[in-house]
């Protein structure tokens, strides 16, 4: 049996039954990596040695009967989640050799839950992108079609799960960076409520939008991972002291009477017809399960992209100022004085998309422009948030396509940033509003590319997402389909 193909809960059952060891699982995962990684390129750094050691330790714990939520389970981490002693690059040359002296809170939590770390996954540089093509390292391929992108920015984490190169993974989502690649790779991805999961140790892109969340092969695994990573962290002032529920309890239950809002503004021209057809079918399925689907309105939807592309770059420009070559990371040897050192280090260290966003952000915050851009965008952001508050008075969850198209071809949108930005048109709003969003596989194109549906709920209502997704998943016909690699 290929253990790497199984889910967390399946493997945990087998571990508890004494059928398999963690070392068996880890070996199986690395066999798979050896077989497909040179085609998929999910990872920037592989942790073969330490993973086996961790697995051996996990097996000792298992023998003692000490089995926690993730004991012995191989997990991958997006390469902007800081890991003590393990290089954390953010997909950037400027951090190409950066080894953090500390563990992020989520890594600590995963360790405590017994997880084994497989490696650090590829991503768009500093999470800026929707295709993982802006990485300074590799281009990650979509396991369903190696000519296509896996989505982004957490493309490596999504591809690794889809290609069975790990059992589950963590990514981060600032404007759709978990949900969009999850949709494009046919896996489950959840962006939690802002403040639900600690950002301590997550290298910041846009601090008021960033959230860490899980990628998994099914909804149950998503709940298991959320149980581990959610919760208040005193090291993150923006993490909310609201107790996290046991998300597994949402895995049962039916959808009778559940109100699902379909925002009319999200069903626009330009959506790939195969995507809209598949979503229509999913809506029918949900109605068949007892859900009441009805149209809702989110009037400020049209402003999301504009607001996002002011707020996110503004924060990014400031967040990325620390990469100056002084204390860590790339320091250019060109240039004779301080200013030259700054200029060369940053010019050589950052890629084009990162530079573009730093420039946009710097401009938006400049004296004389602040009110027109940043301040105005913040005001509209409040209106977007209110849109959702109003909508959630009329429905429990909102359903939209995750992305307007399935995975596109490598290189297709690299020269057209605006087209690239539109790939996140349906996911940005959740980050702006701070609400949780989830992408669940709901079908495939004729060409065999996965399509995802997005579910959104009110603040701290991840349970509703998991419950809806879980009920849907049980009745959809697509579960278990794997890419042919």
């Amino acid at each position: 049996m290929e253990l790497n193909r199984l889910t967390v809960h399946e493997l945990q059952e087998m571990i508890k039954g004494g059928e398999i060891s963690s070392v068996d699982i880890v070996k199986s995962v690395f066999r798979r990596i050896d077989a497909v990684e040179n085609r998929v390129h999910s990872y920037i750094t592989l942790l073969r040695g330490s993973a086996l050691e961790e697995a051996e330790k996990a097996d000792q714990e298992i023998k003692r009967g000490n089995i926690k939520a993730l004991t012995g389970i191989p997990v991958a981490l997006k390469d902007l989640i800081c890991t003590r002693g393990v290089r954390t690059t953010c997909g950037s040359r400027i951090l190409g050799n950066y080894v953090p002296p500390y563990d992020s809170t989520v890594v600590k939590k995963l360790r405590e839950a017994g997880a084994v770390f497989v490696g650090k996954t590829n991503m768009d540089e500093f999470a800026m992108g929707s295709s993982t093509e802006t990485s300074s390292f590799n281009i990650t391929r979509n396991p369903w079609d190696l000519e296509r992108i896996p989505g982004g920015s957490s493309g490596g984490s999504a591809a690794a799960v889809a290609a069975d190169e790990c059992i589950a993974s963590l990514g981060s989502d600032t404007g759709g960076s978990i949900r969009q690649p999850a949709a494009m790779c046919g896996v489950v991805g959840l962006k939690p409520t802002y403040g639900r999961v600690s950002r301590f140790g997550l290298v910041a892109f846009a601090s008021s939008l960033d959230q860490i969340g899980p990628f998994s092969k099914d909804v149950e695994d998503c709940a298991i991972l959320m149980n581990v990573i959610a919760g208040h962290d005193p090291m993150d002032s923006t993490s909310v002291p609201v107790e996290a529920p046991d998300y597994r309890k949402y895995l049962s239950g039916d959808l009778n009477g559940r109100r699902i809002g379909i925002p009319k503004e999200y069903f626009i021209e330009g959506i790939d017809p195969e995507v809209s057809d598949t979503i229509e079918k999913a809506i029918k399925t949900l109605e068949g399960l007892g859900a009441k689907c009805k149209e809702v309105s989110l009037p400020y939807t049209n402003y999301c992209v504009a607001v996002y592309y002011i707020i996110a770059p503004a924060e990014a420009g400031s967040n990325l100022a620390r990469y100056d070559g002084v204390r860590y990371g790339l320091r250019s040897t060109n240039g004779d004085d301080l200013l030259e050192m700054y200029k060369h280090s940053r010019s050589e260290g950052f890629g084009a998309e990162v530079k573009r966003r730093i420039m946009i952000g710097t401009y938006a915050l400049s004296s004389g422009y602040y009110d027109a851009y940043y301040k105005k965008a913040s005001q509209v952001r409040t209106l977007i948030k209110e849109d959702f508050e109003d909508a959630f008075k009329k429905c429990d969850v909102i359903l939209t396509p995750t992305s307007p198209t399935p995975a596109f071809k490598i290189g297709e949108k690299m020269d057209d940033p605006l087209q690239m930005y539109l790939s996140d048109i349906f996911t940005l709003s959740a980050n702006l509003a701070g609400i949780p969003g989830m992408s669940v596989p709901c079908g495939y194109t004729k060409g065999g590319l996965p399509i995802g549906l997005q579910l959104l709920a009110g603040h701290f209502e991840e349970g509703k997402l998991i419950q809806t997704a879980s009920a849907y998943e049980k009745h959809s016909e697509i579960k278990g389909r794997r890419p042919d690699l």
Binding site: L95, A204, S208, P234, S237, G317, D324
Partner: protein, 478 residues
């Protein structure tokens, strides 16, 4: 002078918290470079700030002491600029919502009392330090200071002279130290000052173009720099020129200010709300709780001293320069009940000895109880004031109580009339010529006889008694 100076000061005071403003590192000065650092204050990727509540509490104290309005909702902003001593590439500060606004302090300069308005007080983090190698073109970064909490106190442009500026700074310094929220050490940089200064014609309402002065690390330098800058700007204006809006550095060795950067090179700090920190809500309850911990402030103490001890304002001013000195004085008064005499001793010998030895009042070898005892011994005639000086010197060096010293050295005052008569007799006998001169009207010689008697008794004779007996004996002499 045709012109009037308009001065506003920005004071940065390091707060005396144990730990830094956003992490748990120590704030102690003088440690090995970069030994008081962690991923947070080093600005490592992925770290987040967590606000130190003590910083808020201390800032509330300063706000209350300067009669500011305290804002209920406090938020933090990022001030963005690049410099190697600034690990994150931005300083976390307060911009739109400072903790305190609209306060004032009272100053006195050239005998005139005046109120100086305080525009705002806000919290922020300090930057690190660059250490430049003297022998090679290399600079090092020491980030021990990065993240040490600061408050910035911005005054209104109410100050009109360098004397007023110095008086204002001394007042702020005094309050901060009284509140025990800042050690006030200017050399170590715990109390720093920048000045904005412009000139305008007297009677003019509008402000002139201002220059910002930096790099003045003592009260004296602030005063000197302002005096120099007033003259410089006056010269420019009188020559028909225009003062440039710029930042100027004080050069202590040359005694001049020189241009550092002009308006065009001024930074655009791109302030925006720091998304990593949530607003701090300061309710009335918190403010009141802090108010309860406020000590008596220098001005209040001064007024009370004048009222309660009936000492001159000048004395009260000197005695309340620090809380410890005032406490010392009050303890001595409590034990001897002689406020003015105690004041004379504290302001005189005690402060002089302390200054000579560069010691703090806390380390004064003569404790209030000893001083009070000595004062009592003078008052009850056990020793003379003159002997007291000698006793005091011994008390200082040996740290022993005065009675012990007096007994050991036989310094008790001679009040025995018979003994005194005998001594006086001997003095008069020794110089009949002078006695004759005195009697024929040269009354000035009385002092001479007094001196001779004191000399003969090695200062121990009770001067009042000697005076009385001497007058009588001179009159009786035929």
């Amino acid at each position: 002078m045709k012109y009037e100076a308009v001065i506003g000061l920005e004071v940065h005071a390091q707060l005396l918290t144990e730990t830094k403003i956003f992490c748990g590192c120590s704030t102690r000065f003088g440690a090995a470079p970069n030994s008081h650092t962690c991923p947070i204050c080093l600005g490592m990727p992925g770290v987040l700030p967590v606000m130190n509540r003590k910083v808020v509490e201390y800032t509330i104290k300063m706000a209350l002491a300067t009669r500011c309005r305290i804002n209920g909702k406090n938020s933090f902003a990022r001030k963005n600029y690049f410099y190697p001593d600034l690990p994150k590439g931005y300083q976390i500060s307060q911009y739109a919502c400072p903790l305190a606004e609209n306060g004032q302090v009272e100053i006195e300069a050239d005998g005139v009392k005046k109120r100086i308005g305080i525009t705002r007080i806000h919290m922020e983090e300090d930057a690190g330090k660059l250490v430049h190698d003297e022998y090679s073109p290399v600079s090092y970064v020491d980030l021990n200071r990065a993240g040490v909490p600061l408050i910035e106190i911005v005054s209104e442009p109410d100050i009109r002279s360098s004397e007023e500026a110095a008086a204002y700074l001394r007042r702020l310094h005094e309050i901060l130290v009284y509140l025990e929220i800042c050690d006030g050490n200017m050399e170590e940089g715990s109390f720093r000052c920048d000045a904005n200064i412009s000139l305008r014609s007297r009677g003019e309402e509008e402000f002139g173009i201002r220059a910002e002065l930096k790099n003045m690390n003592s009260f004296r330098n602030v005063q000197r720099a302002l005096e120099h800058e007033i003259k410089r700007q006056q010269y420019v204006l009188e020559g028909g020129g225009q003062v440039a809006q710029e930042t100027r550095l004080w050069d202590d060795s040359k005694g001049v200010t020189r241009s550092m950067r002009g308006k065009e090179e001024a930074h655009d700090y791109r302030y925006f709300p720091d998304p990593d920190l949530v607003p701090i809500i300061i309710g009335d309850e918190w403010t009141e709780e802090v108010r309860k911990t406020l000590p008596e402030l220098p001005l209040e103490k001064r007024e009370r001293f004048v009222r309660e001890y009936a000492i001159p304002e000048y004395d009260a001013g000197v005695l309340t320069v620090s809380r410890d000195l005032a406490d010392y004085y009050e303890e001595a008064v409590r034990l001897c009940g002689k406020p003015k005499i105690a004041s004379n001793w504290v302001m005189g010998d005690i402060l002089r000895y302390l200054n000579e030895e560069k010691r703090d009042i806390k380390a004064c070898p003569v404790r209030p109880i000893a001083l009070a005892e000595m004062i009592n011994l003078i008052e009850d005639g056990t020793i003379s004031g003159k002997i007291a000086k000698e006793v005091f010197e011994e008390m200082w060096s040996s740290e022993r109580p005065p009675r012990e010293i007096i007994e050991e050295k036989g310094l008790l005052q001679i009040t025995d009339v018979d003994i005194l008569k005998k001594v006086i007799n001997e003095v008069l006998e020794a110089d009949p010529e002078k006695v004759k001169q005195y009697r024929s009207g040269k009354e000035k010689l009385f002092g001479h006889f007094m001196g001779q008697v004191m000399k003969a008794t090695r200062g121990k004779a009770n001067p009042k008694l000697v005076n009385k007996i001497l007058i009588k004996m001179l009159a009786d002499r035929e």
